[in-house]
Assembly symmetry: C2
Homo-oligomer: 341 residues x 2
């Protein structure tokens, strides 16, 4: 590619859409032209891109003529419907939805872990589920040195994972609660102000796991390329705006100490240790929000495993950045055609 790429963003008016633009700006990502795409409802609006007002067009099968790179974050329904047209038009699609993640022809990529898989793409590269990314960034540096055989995760997930409307609902319903007013929720299935609830994805009647949890299990195996890793996970929505947290306990093949884990994580790309026992300072959403790094702390021997094979820790990451937009932009930066530019 000898010219700067034409980049389409599908879902440009959403929470991740805004972060695609902000992340590209922050990283001096070269863009020849931006195509701003969204549902018919948003067509005609404008988005600011590097000082220019770009008019939002309706996302259709015909949106992708001349597009080099298409960043999709418009939900899995829109991805299933429009990604094939984008690929057919010659675009490389980075898809933030779950639509193609488990397709064996689609690399599922966290650049710090399996970026080498990017060059195997056949038009689509999938961004993993945000809860999976948040956990795996902290687990990979360990898994490489001492295979993780089992992991148990409890998530504390932010509103942003359900989109801008959910973030707004958290704010508006909290305001109403503080003013003693009744708020009729429109986006979330349960009251969100000063409340938390099990992740609002459908439950598999067979396993009892919800959609989010099933994604974490399957995507962990695909990204780690390890079908044996045993994953148990509970996904919970908490009244936080845009950074996920996770309490993680994992067991390794060989005995492991907290000191070794700390050493394995120190300097790992995209990971920042926040583990101050004296100051009682550990990963928090307020610190992870707006940050690229996944914060990891509370690293300690799991006292429920007297054999010394198990460690507990607590992580936090910006759901809109490393959990979505940043991970997608990192993938584009590693595309072979860019290297050839």
């Amino acid at each position: 590619m000898n010219r700067d790429p034409v980049v389409a963003i599908a879902g440009v008016t959403g929470a991740v859409g805004a972060e695609f633009i902000a992340t590209m700006n922050r990283r001096d990502f070269r863009v020849g032209k931006l195509k701003a795409l969204a549902s018919a409802r948003s067509a005609g609006k404008t988005v600011d891109f590097r000082g220019q007002q770009v008019v939002v067009e309706e996302l259709t099968e015909r949106s992708f003529a001349g597009v080099d790179i298409a960043l999709f974050s418009a939900g899995s329904g829109a991805s299933r419907r429009f990604v094939p047209a984008a690929v057919k038009a010659g675009a490389v699609v980075i898809d933030n939805s779950s639509a193609f993640r488990m397709d064996p022809n689609v690399p599922l990529v966290i650049p710090e872990i399996n970026g080498r898989r990017i060059r195997e793409h056949k038009g689509i590269i999938a961004v993993p589920n945000c809860s999976a990314i948040t956990a795996l960034m902290g687990l990979w540096p360990i898994h490489q040195k001492n295979r993780i055989t089992r992991v148990i995760i409890s998530t504390y997930q932010a509103a942003s994972g359900a989109g801008a409307a959910a973030m707004d609902e958290l704010v508006q319903s909290t305001r109403a609660n503080l003013n003693g007013q009744v708020y009729a929720q429109k986006v979330m299935p349960h009251p969100y102000a000063f409340n938390l609830f099990s992740h609002n994805t459908a439950i598999d009647p067979e396993t009892g796991y919800n959609g989010e949890e099933t994604k974490v299990i399957h995507e962990t195996r695909k990204i780690f390329e390890d079908d044996r890793i045993a994953v148990g996970v509970t996904c919970v929505r908490v009244p936080v705006l845009r950074a996920h947290c996770e309490a993680i306990t994992f067991e390794c093949e060989k005995p492991i100490s907290e000191t070794r884990v700390r050493n394995m994580l120190a300097g790992a790309p995209g990971v920042r240790l926040v583990d101050d026992r004296t100051g009682n300072y550990f990963p928090m959403p307020v610190d992870a929000s707006g940050q690229d790094d996944v914060l990891v702390g509370r690293i300690r021997q799991d006292l429920s495993d007297p054999t010394g094979h198990s460690i507990s820790m607590f992580v936090s990451a910006d759901q809109l950045l490393k959990g979505a937009a940043l991970n997608a932009v990192q993938i584009v930066e590693m595309l072979p055609q860019r290297a050839m530019a």
Copy 2:
């Protein structure tokens, strides 16, 4: 005791203090006279007790003459200082603090689990830590039938566990956040509005576990009278006002199915199953708040254990009621001298 007991409440102006009174009223708990005790700061205020304004007196060593029952919830410092005086004056103390919980002479009681230990008291009966109560209410009916060998808990703890001032800080800091104002926190060590953080008790430098986590581990063993049960726990404060939640994964000695767990919990005293997979309806703080029962749901096989010995579930309980005031009043109701009245 042929007359209605004289009841003292130490910490009557606190969040649990108010619930002591409300719970006694709700349960038609007979009280001859109420002594309202609090720190010097609150002396002279009044509290409403069954339509009468009772003047709050300063809690001192001399507060307990003629008192039959003393309910303490004024922090472990106040308990260490004043409980011995209350016992010496002849009162039976129900202590909500951690001061005497691990004393081998002090029964540590959840009435539904080990109420029979109450009659062994030597003047003090301790109410367990609220996170321990919340977990153990759901685990005990299982443990009796199929010994639990290991449990891993992640908590989602409400502000109320840190008292009325912390609840107020959550409300005030959230209001400030929504109004774009800066809020200087006074009670919590970290911002609380739309944020969460590791439990603010000191970290044991040896284990890396904080005070709350260490309590859950030790108190579980004492209440279950089982020194072998292996407990791993991560305690986290979330922006919720008064009900704790916990994601719990436990392993049993013999294989166990989710159906068996559901059957063991159905009808267990103080436990209510809230486990609607089709409706995506599970235990939530908004439903547990103001309720006596511990809500248990999301009961499912732990997919990280292919041997079928492990179950995951999610629980929620009102921290001020079953986690504190209700559990204390239940203990008083089971006191031998009341049975003899």
